[in-house]
C-alpha cells in the first residue's frame, strides 16, 4: 500500500472556484456551453474545439486509469519518503487528470480500472484531488 505525499498548492483568481468546490468534495472542470465539450481544469480554451467560452461546471468525479508510475520511497538525509503512485485518470467527461492514487496496490493496477476522485488537504494547501481505485 502506498501513501499520499502531495505538495501544497495555493489558489489564484482563476482557480478560486475550483478550490472552493474541492473543499466541498466536488470536482469542477472547464465546460464550453456552445460546444458541449469538457476540458481539463487548467484549460483556457477548449481541448477539442479551442472554443473560448469556458466556464466551471461540476463533473461526476469518476473515470478510469490511463497510465501510472510508482515512485519508490527514498531514504535521503535521514528523511524517509514512502512509495507513491501517480496516475493519469480519464474522467467520464473526457478530460485527463493527473492525481496520486493513495492506498492502492500497484500490482493490481491496470488500464481501465475505475477511479473515483476524492480530495485531501495537505498542510498549507488547498484541497487537492486524489484518485481512489475502485
Amino acid at each position: 500500500m502506498t501513501t499520499v505525499t502531495l505538495a501544497a498548492v495555493v489558489r489564484d483568481d482563476f482557480s478560486a472556484p475550483f478550490f472552493e468546490a474541492a473543499a466541498e468534495g466536488r470536482l469542477l472542470l472547464r465546460y464550453s456551453p456552445s460546444q458541449d465539450t469538457w476540458s481539463e481544469p487548467a484549460a483556457l480554451v477548449c481541448s477539442t474545439t479551442q472554443a473560448a467560452d469556458l466556464e466551471w461546471r461540476e463533473a461526476a468525479g469518476t473515470g478510469h486509469l490511463v497510465t501510472w508510475t510508482v515512485k519508490p520511497g527514498r531514504r535521503r538525509d535521514d528523511v524517509v519518503t514512502p512509495d507513491t503512485v501517480i496516475g493519469i485518470v480519464e474522467l467520464d467527461e473526457g478530460p485527463w487528470l493527473s492525481v496520486q492514487l493513495p492506498e492502492c496496490d500497484p500490482a493490481g493496477l491496470a488500464v481501465g480500472r475505475a477511479v473515483r476522485i476524492g480530495f485531501v488537504q495537505p498542510e498549507g494547501s488547498e484541497h487537492l484531488p486524489v484518485g481512489h481505485v475502485v
Partner: protein
C-alpha cells in the same frame, strides 16, 4: 543552393566543473570554426540553445566579440533545438541572410558535490493554481513524466522492461568504442534489470546521463563547404512536428510521437525512403524514447519496437546501427547535439573503431519536453541529388 555542416566543436563533457555555459559555448564554437578551417570572424550568424539552466543566450554574441551579426537568436525547442537550429541556419543561408552560421548548445547543470538528480529537479514553478496539480501530484521531473508515457506503451503493446534494457545495452556497446563517452564499462541486461527503480517502469539504466559542456556546429552553403577543411555533411531534408498532447481522451501521449510526422516529412524532402537510411542517431533521454522513435520513423511497425530492439538490431553488427556513439544513455547529454554530433562524425567517416561502413544517409532525431517537441534531419556526405 543547399546547406552543409562543415565544422564540429566539442568541449570536454561530463563532470567538468568551474565553468559557465557561456565559457563552454565560446570554446565549442571556436573549436568548430577551427575544425572547419574558418575563423570566428567568418561567422555571421549565431543560434544559441541554452539547456535547462538557461545560463546563456543570444548575448553570447558579445562573449564571442562578434560584430555585425546577420542572424542571431536564442532557440529553445528543448531537445528538438539542435535539429531546429540546423533547419533555421540552412534556411537563412538559402535566403541569403547569412553565409556562415554557428549553432551551439551549452549547459552546466552539474555542480561539484551535488547529485546528478539535483541538476534537473523538475520544473521550478510556484505551486499556484490548477496548472500546478500534476506537479503537486508528483509528476515533476523527467523520469516520472516519461514513466507514465512508457507505462502506457507497455500496457498497450506489451513492451517490457527487458526490451528497454536492450536499448541500454546496445548503446553501451557503441559507447565502449567512443573515447568521448562518459560510460564505457560493459553493461549487461542483468545489470539493467538490477539497477534501481527511478520511476516505475524506468530504472536508473533507462535514464540518460547529465553532463556539463557544449557542442557547436558550423553551417554554410554546399558550394562554400566544398572549399573548406572537412568533408561536408550535407543537409538533405528536415521536419518538425509538435503533437500538442491535450489532456483529453483522444491524446496519443506515450503511444505516438512527433517523429511520426517529422520523420516522413524529412525523408520526403530528402527524396529517400526509410529503407534507404543507413544510420540512426536518435534522441535517447530514456531507453523508451529510442524505442518509440524507431516505431514512429517506420523502422518497425507500431507496437513492435520492443521486439525490434531486443533482436539486437541497434547494436554493433546489427541490422540497424543506432546511436553509434553511445547516445545520451552512455556517451554524454548535450540534448540534440548528442545525436547530431555523432551523425556528423559518422557521415564524415571519422568514427574510428565504431565507424559504420554504410553511412550515406543518416537520420537524426531531436525530442523535447515529454515527447512534446520533435525535429528530424536527414544528413549525407554526398551532395543532394548525387
Amino acid at each position: 543552393m543547399s546547406a552543409a555542416i562543415v565544422g564540429l566543436g566539442m568541449t570536454e563533457m561530463g563532470k567538468v566543473y568551474g565553468r559557465t555555459a557561456t565559457q563552454f559555448a565560446v570554446e565549442a564554437i571556436s573549436r568548430a570554426a577551427e575544425d572547419a578551417g574558418l575563423s570566428l570572424a567568418d561567422i555571421d550568424g549565431l543560434y544559441v540553445n541554452p539547456g535547462v539552466k538557461n545560463d546563456t543566450d543570444l548575448r553570447l554574441q558579445s562573449a564571442l566579440q562578434m560584430r555585425d551579426t546577420r542572424v542571431l537568436a536564442t532557440i529553445q525547442g528543448f531537445g528538438s533545438s539542435a535539429g531546429q537550429m540546423v533547419q533555421y541556419a540552412a534556411m537563412a543561408i538559402e535566403a541569403g541572410m547569412a553565409d556562415v552560421v554557428a549553432c551551439v548548445y551549452a549547459d552546466a547543470p552539474l555542480k561539484e558535490g551535488k547529485r546528478s538528480s539535483d541538476a534537473y529537479p523538475g520544473q521550478a514553478r510556484a505551486m499556484v493554481g490548477v496548472g500546478s496539480l500534476p506537479f503537486a501530484a508528483g509528476l515533476k521531473a523527467a523520469p516520472e513524466r516519461y514513466a507514465v508515457a512508457a507505462r502506457r506503451h507497455m500496457e498497450t503493446y506489451g513492451t517490457t522492461s527487458e526490451q528497454f534494457g536492450a536499448v541500454a545495452v546496445a548503446a553501451r556497446q557503441w559507447a565502449a568504442m567512443n573515447p568521448a563517452a562518459q560510460m564505457r564499462d560493459p553493461l549487461t541486461l542483468e545489470d539493467h534489470q538490477a539497477s534501481r527503480m527511478i520511476a516505475d517502469p524506468l530504472r536508473l539504466l533507462d535514464c540518460c546521463l547529465v553532463s556539463n559542456g557544449a557542442v557547436a556546429i558550423i553551417v554554410t552553403s554546399a558550394d562554400r563547404a566544398a572549399t573548406l577543411r572537412q568533408p561536408p555533411v550535407h543537409v538533405w531534408g528536415w521536419g518538425q512536428a509538435h503533437p500538442g498532447y491535450v489532456q483529453h481522451r483522444d491524446s496519443q501521449f506515450g503511444l505516438v510521437t512527433g517523429a511520426a510526422k517529422s520523420g516522413p516529412d524529412a525523408l520526403k524532402m530528402a527524396g529517400v525512403s526509410v529503407d534507404e537510411v543507413d544510420l540512426r542517431q536518435l534522441y535517447d533521454c530514456f531507453t523508451f524514447t529510442t524505442l518509440v522513435t524507431l516505431e514512429d520513423y517506420g523502422f518497425c511497425a507500431k507496437g513492435e519496437g520492443g521486439e525490434f530492439v531486443a533482436s539486437g538490431a541497434l547494436a554493433p553488427g546489427g541490422s540497424h546501427p543506432t546511436n553509434t556513439g553511445g547516445g545520451e544513455l552512455s556517451s554524454f547529454y548535450m540534448w540534440g547535439m548528442t545525436p547530431l554530433s555523432e551523425a556528423v562524425i559518422q557521415a564524415r567517416g571519422q568514427a574510428g573503431e565504431r565507424q559504420v561502413d554504410r553511412h550515406d544517409v543518416v537520420m537524426v532525431s531531436g525530442n523535447g519536453g515529454v515527447l512534446d517537441f520533435h525535429s528530424t534531419l536527414i544528413l549525407s556526405p554526398h551532395r543532394k541529388g548525387r
